[in-house]
């Protein structure tokens, strides 16, 4: 239920083919309806970055990915100041909206969990 970035029903829905079938069009409609694509952002640009896991993940982006992210955020901020979405040709297309940051966040969370596991390990002698 709880993903690295908070509660999420997505894994549960994805695990059931019926629910997936039911929810996919709704999800697509919802994502298209949220304005972030009209401002040229990707979904992962919206992840709350004021947390250590995401900060660490951001440090692991390639220079190109980091530059593009900064550019998109700057462009969206500017559009926001103008109180107007970007021109239609600059909107993020659904196929461009990839999760470039989430895999890194998940790796970092795994690492933190593993470190906790080793730090609190109880050693039992078996032989």
């Amino acid at each position: 239920m709880a993903g690295p970035l908070g509660l999420s029903l997505a894994p549960y829905i994805r695990s059931s083919p019926t629910l997936t079938k039911l929810f996919t069009p709704v999800a697509k409609w919802y994502a298209g309806g949220s304005l972030y694509r009209q401002y040229g952002l990707l979904y992962d640009d919206l992840l709350i970055e004021e947390r250590p896991e995401v900060q660490k993940a951001l440090s692991r982006l390639t220079p190109r990915e980091a530059y593009d992210r900064a550019f998109r955020i700057k462009r969206a901020s500017h559009a926001d100041v103008l109180h107007e979405p970007l021109p239609r040709e600059l909107w993020t297309k659904p196929e461009q909206d990839i999760r470039y940051l989430l895999p890194h966040v998940e790796t970092v969370v795994e690492e933190i969990k593993e470190r906790e596991k080793w730090d609190t390990l109880e050693v039992k002698r078996t032989r």
Partner: protein, 418 residues
């Protein structure tokens, strides 16, 4: 008399080629600990890009398909084992040292390191690059190592001349390291050496754990070494004034050169004793005889360090005189030099690292004779005439001269009579 009366315990260092085509050698002298080394022909000599061997050395024991970098360290700590990787100009050694009984786990760790290290970009940037940087900084703080590095670059240029260290801001990437690792740990390019474990136990463990990928890339290649020589001067601050005077020879290192290095060594055999050698007359001067044998070349020389350039100059003049004055070697001097060289070889092969150093390269080249006796008896056969001939032909070649420190006042090679 001296040499023949020393009886050596027979060390059998058998080599087998097991089914997977791996070279496995083991030496069990009933030690309380076991050490298993994977020795690959993956030193800087074989590297495809400058510094990639150094990066691979530091990439050892990072995330593999089986366990993460942290998991490897913590689990090995629970077993009380030590994992290390060392780099020489020709070989990369991944070593696990542990208590008897834990062989299964540590062979598994080594196998997963060479077969399935994942070479993540973030590990390269977060874990590997800082260690590379630290080692490069340590190199620049140690003029002796730095001088030997520069001497190799002058003496052999490519191949053996490649530095053990990556450049401070190396352009290599994790993918480069992954490619080099695939080559380095390809079939026939590495051997497994064990101490404190029987040959059969090691063979069976290794053949179970290590499946050599038959469609792995070809092993890295190198060209035969040749000796060039030359002079370089590097300005450094706050370090002892250092010069290196050396000569190199291509071809398999002759035992005469080992005897020559032992003959040149001015240090007394007794601690705190004052040497009568003219090289060590100035206060706080240190002179080390350097003998670095490789598979197809050798570097012999003297490394001189002193607080002042004037002291270095005096010792340097004496060192050049000693290097050029080997023709008048007395029989008893030669005998003691040979005994010294033999003792050094034998005592270095006493420790675990020495076993890997002395015998590992022989195992890797597929030499049939892998015992220590062969090297020792070769030293016994050194004659006065052969010694003089080898020494004079060595000194005839162009010298390798490195000056490190206050280059304004350190002597030039021609000022020392080279």
């Amino acid at each position: 008399m001296l040499a023949s009366s020393v009886r050596l315990a027979r060390r059998s260092f058998a080599t087998v080629v097991d089914t997977a085509g791996l070279k496995v050698a083991a030496l069990d002298a009933n030690q309380p600990t076991v050490a298993i080394t994977i020795l690959a022909k993956a030193g800087p000599r074989y590297q495809s890009k400058p510094g990639v061997a150094h990066a691979l050395k530091n990439f050892a024991f990072k995330s593999t398909a089986d366990r993460s970098a942290l998991g490897t360290v913590r689990e090995s700590e629970l077993y009380g084992g030590v994992l290390s990787s060392t780099l020489s100009r020709e070989h990369l050694a991944l070593t696990a040292e542990f208590l008897r009984g834990d062989e299964q786990y540590f062979v598994d760790v080594l196998a997963s390191v060479i077969a399935s290290t994942e070479f993540h970009r973030h590990e390269f940037e977060e874990l590997v690059l800082p260690t590379i940087e630290g080692e490069v900084n340590a190199l620049h703080a140690d003029p002796a190592t730095h001088a030997i590095e520069l001497a190799h670059a002058l003496a052999f240029r490519n191949g053996l001349g490649a530095s053990l260290f990556a450049a401070p801001h190396t352009p290599i990437t994790a993918e480069d390291v992954a490619q080099f690792a695939a080559q380095a740990f390809s079939k026939g390019n590495f051997a497994v050496l064990g101490t404190g474990i029987s040959q059969s136990a090691l063979s069976s463990l290794v053949s179970n754990a290590l499946a050599v990928d038959s469609n792995a890339p070809k092993p890295p290649t190198t060209t035969a070494s040749s000796y060039f020589g030359g002079e370089t001067r590097v300005e450094t601050h706050g370090t002892p004034q250092t010069i290196f005077i050396g000569f190199g020879a291509a071809g398999a290192p002759a035992p005469e050169l080992a005897a020559l290095a032992a003959y040149l060594d001015p240090n007394p055999s007794v601690k705190w004793a004052r040497s009568a050698s003219p090289m060590l007359q100035a206060e706080k001067t240190s002179v080390q005889a350097v003998y670095l044998p490789y598979s197809d070349a050798a570097l012999v020389g003297l490394l001189i360090q002193a607080p002042t350039a004037a002291a270095v100059r005096e010792a340097g003049k004496a060192a050049v005189a000693a290097l050029k004055g080997t023709s008048g070697v007395k029989t008893e001097e030669l005998k003691s030099a040979i005994a010294k060289a033999k003792f050094r070889l034998a005592s270095s092969a006493d420790g675990r690292a020495g076993v890997v150093e002395v015998l590992g390269s022989k195992v890797l080249t597929g030499a049939s004779e892998t015992s220590l006796e062969a090297s020792l008896s070769a030293l016994d056969k050194v004659t006065s005439a052969g010694f003089t001939k080898a020494a004079t032909s060595l000194v005839k070649s162009k010298p390798t001269y490195v000056a490190l420190g206050d280059t304004q006042s350190l002597p030039y090679a021609d000022e020392l009579g080279l």
